[in-house]
Amino acid sequence: MKKLVISIVLVNLLAACASEKPKAPEAAAPVPPPVVTAPAPEAAPAPAPVVEVDSLNDPASILAKRSVYYPFDVSAVQDADKPIVVAHAKYLSEHPDRNVRVEGNADERGSNEYNLALGQRRADGVKQMLVLGGAKASQIETVSYGEEKPKATGHDEASWSQNRRSDIKY
C-alpha cells in the first residue's frame, strides 16, 4: 500500500518536472513508425486501487490555479487571488516534502532592472503569504524574470496584464 502511494507521488513529481521543461523546437524529430510487437506479459498494467488522490492534480481544485496577477507597479497579492495562495500554503504545510518555486514577472513598462526588482518583490510577497499560511520558508524558492520572459508579447494592456504575474511552480 505504502509503495503505491510513493509511486503515485513520484509520477506526479515527474509530470511536474516535465511541464517545467522548455517546449521542444517546432522542427521536432519525425515520429518513428509504430513498432508492432506483442506486449511483454510483465508490462501489463495492474489496475491500481487509488488510495490517495493528490489534490494538486485535481483540475477542479483551487490548487490547479498557479498564477496570481497584479495591477501596474503593484507587488501585493490582490484580494481576488489570495484564496489561491492560501490554498497552496495549506497544501505545502500538509506536504512538507513538496517544494515550490515562485516566479515573479513584470510588464515592460519600467526599466529592465526595475522590473526585475519588481518581479522579485512580487515573488517574495507570494512567499511571505505562503509562509504565513503555514508553509515553511525552506519549501519555497523565489526568482524574478522581470520583463525578460513575457507570456504575451504585445505592447498593450491585454498583454501587459498577463505579464504582471507570479507563478507557483511545483
Partner: protein
C-alpha cells in the same frame, strides 16, 4: 578561443603619423584594442552585420567639411568613405559638402578656391592601398580651406579585414581637429539581442557594424556594463534559472561568477578606478545596493531601505552614485555618496524615471523618463536642475553616454523591432541603427581604448 598575442599581431591597429606631417611618432591604439581585434578576428562564425542607418535632424552649428573619396583601391576607398561620412554625420556637428566634380588625392592637386566656392571650411583627401604584406595603408590629409593650411596628415595602417577601423580612425582625427573634442568613432558598444527565446550578448563598433557574439543562450541576458579599461564585460545571466552576475574577459572569453546569492543578483556597475562594482542583491530582502570587489570578495551593503533600490551608476570621480528607487512611492532617481548615507531624491514632477547615467564631465546625467505611456530620453543638469527631454518619445530606454559626452546611445523601437539609437547631447540629431534581426536591448557605450 584563447589567443596569444604576438608582436606582429599587436601591430594590427598600429597607427603612424606620416613623415610628411613632419612627425615620426608611432601611436599605438593600445594592446587591448589589438587583442580585441584578434579575438574578433577569431570569431569567424559571426556574420558581418547588415545595418540600415537613418539619420534624423541636424545640428545647430555644423562645420562644413568636404570628404573626397580616397584614391587608390576603389573598394577600400568606398568603404572608408562610407564609414567616415557616416560617423561625421551621426555626430550632428558636420555638414558634408558635396565634392562633385573634384577629386584631388594629393596636396598638389588641391585648388583651394574650388572648395571655398563650395562653402567648405575643411577638406579631407587621401589614398588607400592594399600593401604586398596584406595590410591596408591609408594616407590622408585634413586641410583648412579658409587658411589654406594643412591641419593634419596621417597614415593609418591595419589588417585587410579592418577597413572599417581605418575609417573610424580617420573620422576620429577629423572630429578631433575640427571640434577640439576627442572622437569616439573607434570605441565599441555592447548590447543584448533577443530573438524569440534566444538571447545574445553582443559587442559592436560604435556605429553598430562589426557585431560579435560574446555569449548566446536560451535564457535571458541583461544589463551589460564595461570595465573602465574596456577589457571585461559584467552582465546578468539567467543560465542557472535565476539572475546572477558574471564577469567575462573580452581577451580570452574566460568568465567567472561575481554574485550568485539567492533571489536576484543584478544591475552591475563598475567604479571608475576598476577596483569595485556596485551591484543589486535581494539576499537580505528587497533589492538593495552593495559594493563588491571584481573577484567577488569584500561584499558590503550600502543602501538600507525596504524599497527597490537599483541601477547604481558611479560618478566620474568615483565618489557618488546615482540610482533608481521607488522609496517615495514611484520610481525616481536618487543620489548618494558611495560610502553610504545622505541619499537625496533628484528627479521630481510627472511620471517615473529610470536608468540614470552620469555625463563624463560629471555635470549632469541622462535617464529614461516614463510618462503618459511613453518612454523618453531625458537629461538633467546638477547645477540648475534643468531637465531637457532629448527625444520625441516612444519606447526609449537605457541611455548611456559616449566617452566624450557628445552622443547618447539608447534602446528604441521602430517598425515593431527593438533597435539601437543615438541622439546628440543637444538633442538635435538622432540616428536609428537597425541590426540584422531580432530585438536590440540594453545598449551601453564602451570606454576609449
Amino acid at each position: 578561443m584563447a589567443l596569444r598575442p604576438s608582436t606582429e599581431l599587436m601591430e594590427l591597429l598600429a597607427i603612424r603619423l606620416s613623415p610628411q606631417a613632419g612627425k615620426s611618432l608611432v601611436i599605438r591604439t593600445g594592446l587591448l584594442q589589438s587583442m580585441l581585434g584578434l579575438l574578433l578576428l577569431a570569431q569567424a562564425s559571426v556574420a558581418s552585420a547588415v545595418l540600415t542607418i537613418e539619420i534624423i535632424g541636424a545640428g545647430e552649428h555644423q562645420i562644413p567639411v568636404a570628404i573626397v573619396p580616397f584614391g587608390g583601391d576603389g573598394k577600400l576607398a568606398q568603404t572608408i568613405n562610407e564609414v567616415v561620412t557616416g560617423d561625421l554625420q551621426r555626430s550632428g556637428l558636420f555638414r558634408l559638402v558635396d565634392p562633385a566634380g573634384k577629386s584631388p588625392h594629393e596636396l598638389a592637386e588641391v585648388s583651394y578656391p574650388d572648395w571655398q566656392m563650395r562653402g567648405a571650411d575643411a577638406l579631407a583627401i587621401g589614398t588607400v592601398a592594399l600593401q604586398n604584406n596584406g595590410r591596408i595603408e591609408a594616407r590622408f590629409r585634413l586641410l583648412d580651406v579658409v587658411k589654406q593650411t594643412e591641419l593634419a596628415g596621417q597614415s593609418v595602417s591595419a589588417n585587410d579585414d579592418q577597413v572599417r577601423a581605418v575609417g573610424h580612425r580617420v573620422a576620429d582625427l577629423i572630429y578631433e581637429k575640427l571640434t577640439g573634442d576627442k572622437g569616439v568613432f573607434s570605441t565599441r558598444i555592447a548590447y543584448v539581442n533577443r530573438q524569440g527565446k534566444k538571447f545574445s550578448l553582443m559587442v559592436a563598433d560604435s556605429d553598430g557594424y562589426n557585431e560579435q557574439t560574446v555569449l548566446a543562450q536560451n535564457e535571458p541576458i541583461m544589463s551589460p556594463a564595461w570595465s573602465p579599461d574596456g577589457s571585461h564585460l559584467v552582465y546578468v545571466s539567467f543560465e542557472t534559472g535565476h539572475a546572477a552576475i558574471y564577469v567575462q574577459s573580452l581577451y580570452t572569453n574566460q568568465r567567472m561568477v561575481l554574485a550568485d546569492f539567492r533571489g536576484s543578483n543584478s544591475a552591475p556597475a563598475w567604479s571608475p578606478d576598476g577596483k569595485q562594482l556596485a551591484v543589486v542583491l535581494t539576499r537580505d530582502g528587497s533589492s538593495q545596493i552593495y559594493l563588491i570587489r571584481p573577484d567577488g570578495s569584500g561584499i558590503r551593503r550600502i543602501t538600507f531601505s525596504a524599497a527597490i533600490d537599483t541601477e547604481p551608476n558611479f560618478s566620474p570621480d568615483g565618489q557618488s552614485l546615482l540610482f533608481t528607487s521607488d522609496r517615495g512611492g514611484s520610481a525616481q532617481i536618487y543620489s548618494m555618496p558611495v560610502g553610504g548615507g545622505a541619499e537625496q531624491r533628484i528627479t521630481f514632477g510627472e511620471g517615473n524615471n529610470f536608468s540614470p547615467r552620469y555625463s563624463p564631465d560629471g555635470k549632469g546625467f541622462v535617464y529614461a523618463h516614463f510618462s503618459n505611456g511613453k518612454f523618453y530620453i531625458a537629461a538633467q543638469d546638477f547645477q540648475n536642475g534643468q531637465v531637457e527631454i532629448l527625444t520625441a518619445g516612444g519606447w526609449e530606454k537605457k541611455p548611456s553616454f559616449a566617452p566624450n559626452g557628445k552622443l547618447i546611445l539608447f534602446a528604441s523601437e521602430a517598425r515593431g523591432r527593438g533597435i539601437l539609437a543615438t541622439v546628440s547631447s543637444d538633442g538635435r540629431v538622432q540616428q536609428h541603427m537597425f541590426t540584422q534581426s531580432g530585438d536590440a536591448r540594453e545598449p551601453v557605450w564602451g570606454p576609449h581604448l
